[in-house]
């Protein structure tokens, strides 16, 4: 018998328990600016961005995967930011390669929309809208050495968010 059948045969259905359904009563009063700051992101205006990162690379189709390791500053578009935790939903379609937001040294994300919490976020994402998507909250970080927070573990060393009204 295959391992699959062996395993499935061993699993007896237990006494039924209902799925509790959608979570009700989640807080909605969150300040997305405060959350972005907590996760280590900077918020800039378009004008500030021009001054700080004039030579940034804007995503276009000519930018292929591995050459991204050489990109210093990459600018991509996010779908929305979640106010409760500063996480931005990104999809594969909006980046040159899945590894893009990880491998570049500094990341800039444009966001037009804000949703209050993760429940509202998955309301937007009921069905997968991409082969690969992620919530990204701030720059790469680690505290594996004596619990000291260090920004820039493997992924981007900084995250700049530009909110477009």
């Amino acid at each position: 018998m295959s391992a699959r059948d062996q395993i499935l045969r061993k699993i007896e259905p237990l006494e039924p328990v209902n799925h509790p359904g959608d979570f009700k009563g989640a807080s909605i009063d969150f300040d997305f600016r405060a959350s972005l700051e907590v996760v280590g992101a900077r918020i800039m205006t378009k004008e500030e961005l021009e001054i700080v990162f004039p030579g940034r690379r804007r995503y276009d189709k000519t930018l292929d995967g591995l050459s991204l390791a050489e990109v210093e500053v990459l600018e991509i578009d996010g779908e929305f930011v979640v106010a409760e935790n500063g996480a931005i939903w990104l999809t594969e379609e909006a980046m040159p390669h899945r590894v893009a937001p990880f491998i570049c040294q500094h990341l800039v994300i444009n966001v037009k929309k804000i949703v209050p919490n993760m429940h509202a976020a998955y309301e937007e994402l009921k069905k997968p809208n991409s082969s690969f998507g992620l919530f990204l909250a701030g720059p790469s970080k680690t505290a594996d050495i004596e619990q000291s927070l260090v920004i820039g573990a493997h992924g981007a060393r900084s995250l700049t968010v530009v909110i477009h009204p």
Partner: protein
């Protein structure tokens, strides 16, 4: 192998380090409290997550099959492994087909459970662990001592020395920023070169056939997106029914683990990248046995946040290695005996049964009760340490015989100094209290 109490004795020999370990983990627990208390719905969310897991476990077979068919439709290869040996053979087969000699792996306690690294090494394949903490302990030939903070037992001086030996950083440099940068450069080379990447899985969604991997460093993604072949290894209990269920789990996970609002990266792998091969290995290894036992099935609800480690007075003061298991702490102490009762018979006793673990658990596992159930099972199976068995029998006999109880009590009150001996484990590191002159009964009779 040393038992938990023997290994703990070594750990606490360095009092200063023990205090540091204790305080650091308590600090993480305090961050968890702060993050959870700003959400009025926190307790309702724990209950909700618990119910989703209960519902899933009650229908696990169905959800596994639903996940399998969706994942296959998404172009993911699905493998099933009954035990660790099968799991390792499957993973090796995939790597061997690529002809790779060095591969990268992000954090996966399941591969630790299966001793995958050792197995692959025996086949001539080097595994490079890419989580910073895991890379540190791998250099040192140690196991992770905590499932979220693998190198929490080490001080920066230790890491500096390890990196000096293995990465050639200047001797004596112990600056975390500098050492992290050295690891970044070292591991980037491996990410760019590796053709196979292994990751763990935090959640596998039956509805969509996708799986979610959470990291703060971005190491799972760096590996998976650059490799030609991605192998994700998961226990069958990581299934959740719906995509929308992720909302409550992602809200709970990082807040419970480190007090963060969310992990930096929560990646949803739905289909392989163009030209990429994606595999998922579903492992049983005793989980179906645990599921069939009403006393212990709840332990399968665990989302591996390690909140129970951070709050545990015994874990904080004995260190993860004392548990001699990849998953230490309270949750490890109820998972390990299921895999090997005899080898892990000491673990359910490594607890004060204070219940703090159950109070912080984001999916409301009755951890302290299960520790107590295991103690009973182990005593019954004759697997408890001899001293404990004799002690318990003597105690039961005495408590069941009023005359012996009274005589024994009166003798012990008079000769209580005889308990101040190394033969009495309670005497170690403790002053025995002075016994009162008379018993309660004697006092009561006088009134």
């Amino acid at each position: 192998m040393l038992s938990h109490s023997e290994a703990s004795e070594n750990f606490i020999a360095d009092a200063e380090r023990t205090d540091w370990h204790d305080e650091t983990l308590w600090f993480v627990r305090a961050k968890r409290d702060k993050a959870s208390k700003v959400l009025p719905e926190w307790e309702a969310m724990r209950e909700h997550a618990s119910q989703i897991k209960d519902h899933t476990l009650a229908n696990l077979g169905e959800y596994l099959q639903a996940f399998e068919s969706k994942a296959i439709a998404n172009g993911i290869h699905v493998h099933w492994a009954a035990d660790a040996a099968e799991h390792n053979a499957i993973v090796h087969g995939i790597i061997a087909a690529q002809g790779s000699k060095t591969i990268v792996k992000s954090k996966s306690m399941l591969t630790e459970e299966c001793h995958l690294n050792d197995y692959l090494a025996s086949k001539g394949i080097e595994v490079v662990d890419t989580d910073l903490g895991e890379r540190i302990v791998q250099f040192r030939n140690e196991a992770p001592s905590h499932i979220v903070l693998p190198a929490i037992h080490l001080k920066k001086e230790d890491v500096g020395e390890t990196f000096h030996q293995h990465l050639g950083t200047p001797k004596g440099n112990k600056d975390p920023q500098f050492l992290t940068e050295a690891a970044r450069q070292h591991l980037r080379g491996h990410f760019l070169a590796s053709e196979v990447a292994i990751t763990g899985v935090n959640f596998a969604v039956a509805e969509t056939g996708e799986f979610v991997v959470c990291t703060n460093e971005g190491n799972a993604d760096m590996g998976a997106h650059l490799a030609k072949v991605h192998i994700a290894c998961t226990g069958i209990e990581k299934i959740i029914p719906k995509r929308a269920d992720l909302a409550v789990f992602l809200r709970l996970l990082a807040r419970s683990a480190t007090g963060q609002l969310i992990t930096t990266y929560s990646s949803h792998f739905h289909k392989p990248r163009e030209g990429q091969e994606m595999h998922i290995v579903l492992l049983d290894n005793g989980r179906t046995r645990q599921l069939a036992d009403p006393k212990y099935k709840n332990s399968l609800k665990c989302i591996r946040c390690a909140a129970c480690f951070n709050t545990c007075p015994v874990y904080r003061r004995s260190g993860g290695h004392s548990y001699h298991q990849p998953v230490a702490g309270p949750i490890g102490s109820i998972l390990a005996p299921n895999i090997d009762k005899k080898a892990n018979a000491d673990l359910p006793f490594a607890s004060t049964l204070c219940g703090s673990c159950s109070n912080v658990c984001p999916v409301k596992i009755n951890i302290h009760e299960q520790l107590w159930f295991w103690r009973q099972d182990l005593m019954e199976a004759g697997l408890a340490p001899a001293g404990k068995t004799i002690g318990m029998k003597l105690m039961a006999f005495t408590l069941a015989n009023p005359v012996i109880y009274r005589v024994g009590g009166s003798l012990l009150r008079r000769f209580s100094h005889l308990l101040n001996t190394r033969l009495n484990p309670w005497y170690k590191q403790r002053e025995m209290p002075v016994a009162p002159k008379e018993s309660f009964q004697e006092w009561y009779k006088k009134r």
